[in-house]
């Protein structure tokens, strides 16, 4: 196999991030501990910033897709768009983790290294165009996340979460690998495009159908869709909140991006193979996710179920790619992409606000049962003690609930309008009713923040935490008021997929 310069250029953004990861681990190894943190943060930002800059340039130039490594990787608009989304979240995480790792005595060199390599794997996952690359990258990012989940080694909850995640994750991997094997058996290829043309000429064989189904199920596991969501609340709750914030948004973005690519490149001619499955899962996910979220008293766990529910809205958009009249319409996928970005900002922001609130208590306490800042009582009176943090949290919650003028509203608007345009009115009605239910538990947090008497937690959280919250809030509002740029990118990334 000939590897040319072009091949390397195609993965240059991911390589930059990976290089930053290596550098971070290296510096951490040799430089004296506790003094090198600024250097680590700067290196991470440099890697992320450089990659982001490259990707934005590419999006502006709008070249045709750049295929690399014998067609197993492609740098196109979809890759660029989702990579930028992932990198933005990674950057915000570096900002937060900088403070939180120190407080929780997490070895930050490891932490940054894992986060950055995880991001690189996600970027490559979105870019992957053959089943093995997809599988490999999914595994790399998962392994990094298993470790990130269990990184507070002395916290039993964190350990439990990591083991749970590992076991269920391995289960999902099994499904996926089996799906890959069956697809290879059916078609004799692992390249998505080859699969697509095989399907177009031969029609779906039972083997192909089963393989595709298993592959999709593996993805549904990763994004936490009902009935494959059982691990989500436990893992999200047990992991350090910073990790939760990171994985709740980036994994979904990367996995859905890859799923969209698979569906639109490998099976665009037969949408009926996957659309009904997705719409059934979407309904279950929206309904069950929202209903269980109501009962939670831990805000962290509530947000975990809420993120399950939001997976459901994304799946509505994906299911809406298959019109009732049997046609394929790709607008659903661009709605899903926009929704993912909107969801990223608001969910990340909400989790980071919990970190922020946790930092108000003078010493980390109440472990292992509760970490600071995750029980609803920890938020009591936040509106009085920290008006800006409470305002930001309100924005995130309102956005999650889908009230304008926020990103969440525009996202839901796109998703449901696409569902209706393709004739899935029932799906849209269930969706809006589910989001009505979701207002019950989002409002409960608002009530706690503004309408209950304040706690006496008066430690001032560090500035970079506040900055991360503010940036996420700005993203949430901007995407709601000026959705143009991202919506355009989202549309273009799908259109150029060539479906």
């Amino acid at each position: 196999v000939n590897v040319t310069v072009l091949d390397w250029i195609a993965i240059l953004p991911a390589l930059l991030v990976l290089a930053a990861a290596m550098l971070v681990v290296g510096i951490d190894l040799f430089a004296p501990p506790r003094k090198n943190q600024l250097a680590l943060v700067l290196v991470s930002f440099a890697g992320i910033g450089g990659a982001c800059w490259l990707l934005v340039q590419r999006l502006h130039l709008a070249r045709r897709p750049l295929e690399a490594f014998s067609g197993s990787i492609v740098l196109d608009d979809l890759t660029s768009f989702l990579s930028i989304a992932i990198l933005m979240m990674t950057a915000l995480l570096v900002l937060v983790a900088n403070v939180d790792t120190r407080r929780r005595n997490i070895a930050f060199g490891e932490y940054y290294g894992l986060v950055l390599s995880c991001s690189a794997a996600m970027m490559l996952l979105v870019a992957s165009t053959d089943l093995l690359m997809i599988f490999l990258n999914l595994e790399i990012l998962s392994i990094a996340l298993y470790v990130l989940t269990g990184i507070t080694r002395k916290n039993p909850r964190s350990n439990e979460a990591a083991v749970k995640y590992l076991v269920t994750g391995a289960f999902a991997t099994g499904f996926q690998l089996f799906g890959v094997a069956l697809l290879y058996g059916a078609t004799g290829s692992i390249q998505l495009e080859a699969l697509g043309s095989w399907l177009a000429t031969n029609g779906p064989s039972p083997l192909f159908q089963t393989g595709l189904g298993l592959l999709i199920v593996g993805f549904l596991f990763k994004i936490g869709a009902v009935p494959f969501h059982m691990w989500v609340p436990d893992v999200y709750e047990g992991a350090p909140t910073t990790t939760t914030a990171f994985m709740s948004v980036t994994v979904k973005a990367a996995a859905v991006g890859s799923l969209v690519r698979i569906l639109l490149v490998a099976a665009p001619t037969h949408p009926e193979l996957w659309a009904d499955l997705l719409s059934a899962v979407a309904i279950a996910t929206m309904v069950i996710g929202n209903l269980i979220a109501i009962q939670q008293t831990s805000v962290k766990r509530m947000l975990a179920y809420s993120s399950v529910a939001h997976t459901g809205y994304v799946l509505v958009a994906l299911a809406a790619m298959h019109g009732v009249d049997g046609t394929l319409s790709v607008e659903g996928a661009s709605a899903a992409l926009f929704y993912l970005v909107a969801y990223s900002f608001m969910t990340f922001g909400a989790f980071v606000t919990l970190v922020y609130v946790g930092h108000e208590a003078p010493v980390p306490g109440r472990e292992p049962e509760w970490q600071d800042g995750e029980h609803i009582d920890d938020l009591a009176g936040l509106g009085v003690r920290r008006p800006w943090a409470a305002f930001a949290m309100t924005l995130f919650l309102v956005s999650l609930g889908g009230i304008p003028p926020t990103a969440g509203f525009f996202g839901k608007f796109l998703v449901f309008s696409e569902a209706i345009a393709q004739g899935h009115v029932g799906l849209a009605v269930i969706g809006v009713l589910a989001s009505l239910v979701s207002m019950v538990y989002y409002l409960r947090v608002v009530v706690a923040m503004y309408m209950q008497s304040p706690l006496s937690n008066d430690e001032q959280p560090e500035g970079s935490l506040g900055l991360a919250v503010a940036l996420a809030a700005a993203g949430t509002v901007l995407l709601g008021i000026l959705p143009n740029l991202f919506f355009e990118w989202a549309t273009r990334s799908i259109v150029l997929l060539g479906a």
Partner: protein, 503 residues
């Protein structure tokens, strides 16, 4: 000279002021700034009123149009006709009054309170000023949160329950309306006009919808608006919200928020789905009539003054809806003018309740008696506003109720008779309230209650002036709204476009 975007200015000035004031420390400065901003908005709204030249419906005045999301045909479109202009002025009038009455009444987190009021004003004004359905919906939903916070933070003992109930009820309706809006948009884009422009939708939608679809869509819109109005039997959030809300919240809730519902019927539900509106008009008239009687009887039974007025709102809004769906221009005009009347009278009543509650810290109807002896000025205002509310000729309530009953009688005599009975009931419970509060023996407990202060007078005098003005000279207001109302309900009665109500 570049023309100022007056409507945007009136709409967003409060929100802008709120954003600036968020950075100002201290309560007094914020209060002053907020009041100054809202007075400025009122002045600007009067400028709008003076500059307004009634356009021929469905044209609008002060139009602003900026592309927002091009690929979806979403524009930032603002524009007003006589109906929305009056409601905007009403909003701009009531907000500063609500601020003055809260000046000393709010003790916790004053800054947040005034900022929430300003945000609420932007939301409500935007609802009336938007001429793009997407924009309208954005404002419609965005005003939920400030109102919920006003009730939930600064309200009475059951404030949290009331606040959540308010949000959930309203959202239940509006989310289904969102589905209907999206469906309408989809049908529009199917025939190649992907736009949310309200006038364009009213033109294009009726011919392309079949009767069944139209009924469903009308139901979705009507449910949302009926909850907001609120029409019986969707009214149960209202008494809770009103009783728990702080005075300023009640004033704005009754004064302008409820009008958003009837405005929605007039602007969207009827013009978009005329056939369904005709088909369902008898049903809506019937539940309006039931609402009038039910609201009045409930009012009569209340022992909490605020709750009494809250239920009277159900009855009054029943009149508005009766007029709008009566199928006569006179009735609809009456309904329109009654929207303004109710804003003035009930807004004033809630202000008056706030005044006495600040002094006595009770709102029990039977806790008072003989107050006329110690608070003569207060008693006078209360009686005047009561008379305006129950429709004494010469005051505003009479104009609205008379036109509504007159118009309804032509088309649906039974409903008009029921409505007239409601007027009588209205007199019974309101005059009963006045008797209980102001006459009879004076309890020694209240012997030292001070009469109204200058600030309180400043809030009530403008409203009494409005009540008299609207009652004595309603013609300019009727003329202002005649063409747009006729156009809006022409769906119900196409021949109405030629009829006229003003002499």
């Amino acid at each position: 000279m570049v023309e100022l975007p007056m409507l945007s200015l009136v709409t967003f000035l409060p929100a802008f002021a709120a954003a600036v004031l968020a950075f100002v420390p201290g309560g007094r400065e914020v209060k002053g700034g907020a009041l100054a901003a809202s007075v400025l908005v009122f002045v600007l709204s009067l400028v709008l009123f003076w500059q307004f030249e009634p356009p021929v419906p469905p044209e609008l005045a002060f139009v602003e149009d900026v592309v927002w999301v091009e690929s979806l045909g979403i524009h930032y479109r603002m524009g007003v006709d006589g109906i929305s202009l009056l409601l905007i002025v009403l909003t701009a009038l009531l907000t500063p009054l609500a601020m003055i009455i809260s000046w000393d009444a709010v003790h916790t987190n004053e800054k947040g309170f005034f900022i929430a009021l300003l945000c609420l004003q932007t939301g409500v004004t935007g609802v009336f000023a938007a001429s793009d359905l997407f924009l309208f919906y954005a404002f419609w939903e965005a005003m939920l949160l400030p109102m919920a916070l006003l009730i939930g933070i600064w309200g009475g003992p059951r404030r949290i329950y009331a606040s959540i109930k308010f949000v959930l009820y309203t959202m239940a309706g509006s989310l289904l309306m969102l589905v209907a809006i999206l469906y309408c948009w989809f049908r529009m884009s199917e025939i190649g006009v992907p736009t949310f422009e309200i006038a364009e939708m009213a033109r294009t939608l009726p011919p392309i919808l079949d009767a069944r679809t139209e009924s469903w869509l009308f139901a979705a819109f009507a449910l949302s608006f009926a909850i907001k109005v609120p029409m019986f039997p969707f009214h149960t959030w209202l008494p809770d919200a009103h009783v728990e809300a702080p005075t300023a919240g009640s004033v704005l809730l009754a004064g302008v928020l409820l009008k958003m519902g009837s405005y929605g019927f007039l602007r969207f539900a009827i013009p978009f789905f005329p056939e369904a509106a005709v088909a369902h008009a008898p049903l809506l008239v019937a539940i309006s009539a039931v609402g009038i009687i039910y609201g009045s009887l409930m009012s009569w039974a209340q022992t909490d003054i605020k709750k009494l007025i809250a239920y009277s709102s159900v009855a009054h809004l029943g009149f508005v809806m009766l007029g709008l769906f009566s199928g006569s221009l006179i009735g609809a005009q009456g309904g329109m003018i009654q929207m303004i009347n109710h804003g003035v009278s009930t807004g004033a009543l809630f202000l008056l309740v706030g005044v006495i509650y600040e002094r006595a810290h009770t709102r029990g109807v039977h806790d008072f008696g003989g107050l006329a002896k110690v608070m003569p000025v207060y008693a006078t205002f209360f009686v005047v506003i009561t008379l305006s509310s129950i429709g004494l000729p010469g005051l505003n309530g009479f104009v609205g109720e008379f036109l509504i009953l007159n118009g309804t009688y032509e088309e649906m005599p039974v409903a008009a008779v029921v409505g007239a009975f409601g007027v009588v009931l209205g007199a019974v419970y309101m005059l009963g309230l006045v008797r209980n509060m102001f006459f009879g023996p004076l309890s020694p407990k209240w012997a030292t209650l001070p009469d109204m202060t200058g600030g309180e007078l400043a809030t009530l005098v403008p409203l009494v002036v409005c009540a008299v003005w609207l009652g004595m000279f309603p013609t300019p207001f009727l003329e202002l709204t005649e063409a747009p109302v006729a156009h809006a309900i022409s769906a119900l009665r196409p021949d109405l476009l030629t009829a006229s109500v003003t002499p």
